[in-house]
Symmetry: C2
Subunit: 318 residues, 2 copies
């Protein structure tokens, strides 16, 4: 087997790629701007040029076993980016095919949350776990579900959209998906900012958050305020963690995971998020599962996580 | 391979068992009363005596490959009935071990809903499907989840308790599990009867159901009234189907099944249940899954279904 894989993480702003060895060390990495090219072909050309340079300066020509790509709405079965997503090109895009033809190397693709789950299973907090659920808490809420050691792709390759379970059936928040009440409208970084705006508008107590333009408040602002003892900010985390914990208790009756693994900026909020989350999960857990699922934090270094996750998929590309 | 399996379905009232061939024909079946024996050992003795007689009169001695058992809370991994269930013996019960020792034949056990899913996959509506969710609508709501051709047992063997997802987070109905708002408090046969009582108490219109003692109303009464044009009875089915459809849309984002298969008495309510169910599912479906999951009815003959489902597990007993 060739000793390296190339991992590519396609985000709305940047595309990060790295050369990874069998032990999960990122030998070298680089990036290009995703949105620079109006034509997908031109984007692939630049990606090929830059990634080839990376491979070449690291003496890795003919040593790359496969390419793994994580991208929004990328489908493992079809190799396509299938639906309208935050990318500058018309969909569907035959992503796996174009990359493998361009590089002459087998390529496998999946969505970013599944890539993170594979990375965590191969190199991170989920090593040795056969049943776990990865929850990515970023701009949205994503998930990668692993059952019996295998990523759950479902019948059509799109399974594992747990950010879109409905947590408020009535009067829920409007979601980017067009429906209302989705988990991600409450428990993403954006959701935390929305909660902050709601709480500040409804309530009258003083808060450190009132110093910030209400439309510009971020989850980081809420975190900083809470760490400085701000009561409203702490309650925002309490609210967020409770909703996530309730949802995770419901997820448990589906696949009975050994652990949930939290990933992304919000996951680093420590006990502010984890305490209400674990409380709510425990309080809402069906008795046979009580105390069973662990709540773990991702162990992948943030700068490398996306590339590592994608690269792990490169080992199974064919 | 020996040509028969023995399927055993242990219910709270009756234990039904049957000799099944490789094509899913029930060669012969019989039953004993589950609750007759205070001691589990005595129950197993009678089961052994009666099942051996069945095997013997059908010239099947030494021709039984394995025994499959469906029983409440039976765990595929441990072979035990693990938790307090509606059975007359103290738990845990080492079910698989005691049966295989008594009969001298390998035995595998699982809960009744998983057995139904395996039966449906082997002999019924799920033949050829690799990703589906079986929903059993009986006294409670059970589920058997199949992903990539395998029953989902989860980390501890208890996965697939979809009757206990929370569908009403606030002011939900009290469930036998000790929590409130579980799916099965609304969408089981018992749930339909509870809805009938609620509707009749809150509302004042005339209804055929008012002729029945309100505490004695069954889902069958509601069905009969609805088929006779009763408006309240029709709305009870509308209410039930809507909640189930909403829940099924949420289940879809987890595992993206090709189909849901409905099983049990309520599943036979036809369009009364299916129409609002499919409407609600479609209305609440995340767009990438819209129109994808089919809603199918079980194809197993009711009298044979439980035994067939359990027996299918007998082929993998070892």
């Amino acid at each position: 087997m060739k000793p390296y894989v190339l991992g590519i993480d396609i985000g709305g702003t940047n595309t990060v790629f790295g050369l990874v060895d069998t032990r999960g060390a990122v030998i070298a990495s680089s990036s290009i701007k995703t949105a620079k090219h109006a034509k997908f072909e031109d984007y692939i050309d630049e990606l090929y040029t830059e990634a080839s340079r990376l491979i070449s300066v690291n003496d890795a020509e003919d040593k790359v076993h496969g390419i793994g790509v994580g991208a929004p709405n990328a489908n493992y079965f079809t190799g396509m980016i299938e639906d309208g997503v935050n990318l500058p090109w018309p969909t569907p895009i035959p992503l796996a095919q174009m990359i493998s033809e361009k590089f002459g190397i087998p390529c496998a693709v999946t969505n970013d949350a599944n890539a993170a789950a594979i990375g965590e299973m191969t190199y991170g907090a989920a090593r040795g776990l056969k049943d776990f659920i990865m929850i990515t808490l970023g701009t949205g809420v994503g998930s990668g579900i692993v059952i019996n050691g295998q990523v759950v792709y479902g019948h059509d390759g799109f399974a594992g959209e747990l950010g879109h379970v409905i947590v408020k059936r009535h009067n829920g928040r409007l979601c980017g998906c067009g429906r209302t009440g989705c988990l991600e409208t409450y428990c993403s970084a954006t959701g935390v900012a929305r909660t902050a705006r709601e709480f500040l508008e409804i309530r009258t107590e003083p808060s450190l958050l009132r110093k910030i333009d209400i439309e510009a408040i971020t989850s980081k602002d809420v975190y900083d305020a809470a760490m400085n003892g701000d009561q409203i900010a702490k309650e925002i985390f309490e609210y967020t963690g409770t909703i996530l914990g309730e949802a995770m208790a419901d997820m448990t009756v589906f696949s009975s995971p050994e652990a949930f693994i939290l990933f992304g900026g919000l996951a680093k909020s420590g006990d502010l998020l984890l305490k209400p989350l674990v409380n709510a999960m425990d309080k809402n857990m069906l008795s046979i599962f009580k105390g069973k699922p662990k709540v773990l934090l991702s162990e992948l270094k943030e700068a490398d996580a996306a590339v590592l996750g994608a690269s792990a998929l490169g080992w199974e590309a064919k």
